[in-house]
Symmetry: C2
Subunit: 130 residues, 2 copies
DNA sequence: TATAAGGCTTCCAGTTACGGGAAGGTCAAG
DNA sequence: CTTGACCTTCCCGTAACTGGAAGCCTTATA
């Protein structure tokens, strides 16, 4: 299977696949006689794993660890669980931060008329900080 | 005032100040006889504006627009309000996305024993996607 | 069969918003 | 006069790719 088919079947762009290969996240694909990459079912499987893990917010470095754990059949599930919990913590923190920002912005928007006049509490706030 | 004092008073690092100057976000600071940047009260004011806007999640490009609006005393408040609302929308979207990710991860963690054994629903899910 | 379109390859550059660090000038203190 | 703390500019590195150029390969069509 050529790279564009692999991309289509996994949701990982051809560019991204080459990138993942270049940073050794995934094993280099077999090459056909013409030099084209040739992907097999296992390659597709791995790419889907990567796509799903990335989609769940794991960094590429973390995905690398997860792949190693996935391929190590003697791993302890605690390790994977720990990584997932770490990811959850970071996500929760980010959510809290975004929510507090959103609150501030919403308050500002509420106090701003939003008409043709120049008076704008939003800019006043940015300027004054108070 | 030298750059390190300006940094301290605004919460913007010296590196960031030079960067903002280099990309024309802020006006180049006056130079003292020795070539050092010399910041005045207005510079500090502008840097604080930038710091606060960045802290509220506006991109540097957006801060540039906000600064222009701030300095244009004939601006319409509607424009600033619109930008703030756009920022809020993006933030809300991001929050929703993070929350759905967090939910999925939490479900997975819950189903994972997290012990010394290799059985791990988290990896199973990443692999199978189902 | 010639050729044009499209896919594949590699490599380089750009993205965001800076931080780190090198090489070298400047300033205040002892 | 030297030390150490500033300051300057310049270049590299970050995360995770995307876009584009230059140049093969393949397939379809005239």
């Amino acid at each position: 299977m050529n790279i564009s088919q692999a991309a289509e079947q996994t949701g990982v762009s051809a560019k991204a696949i080459r990138y993942y290969e270049s940073i050794d996240l995934i094993a280099p694909a077999r090459r056909a006689g013409n030099g084209y990459r040739d992907f097999n079912d296992n390659d597709i499987h791995m790419l889907r794993f990567v796509a799903r893990a990335r989609g769940l917010g794991f960094s590429v470095a973390e995905v690398s660890d997860l792949l190693a754990l996935y391929q190590d059949h003697d791993r302890a599930s605690a390790q994977v669980r720990g990584m997932a919990q770490g990811a959850i913590s970071r996500i929760e923190e980010k959510i809290a931060e975004l929510q507090s920002i959103s609150t501030v912005l919403s308050d500002l928007v509420e106090r701003c008329q939003g008409d043709d006049r120049p008076n704008c509490p939003i800019l006043d706030d940015l300027a004054g900080g108070a």
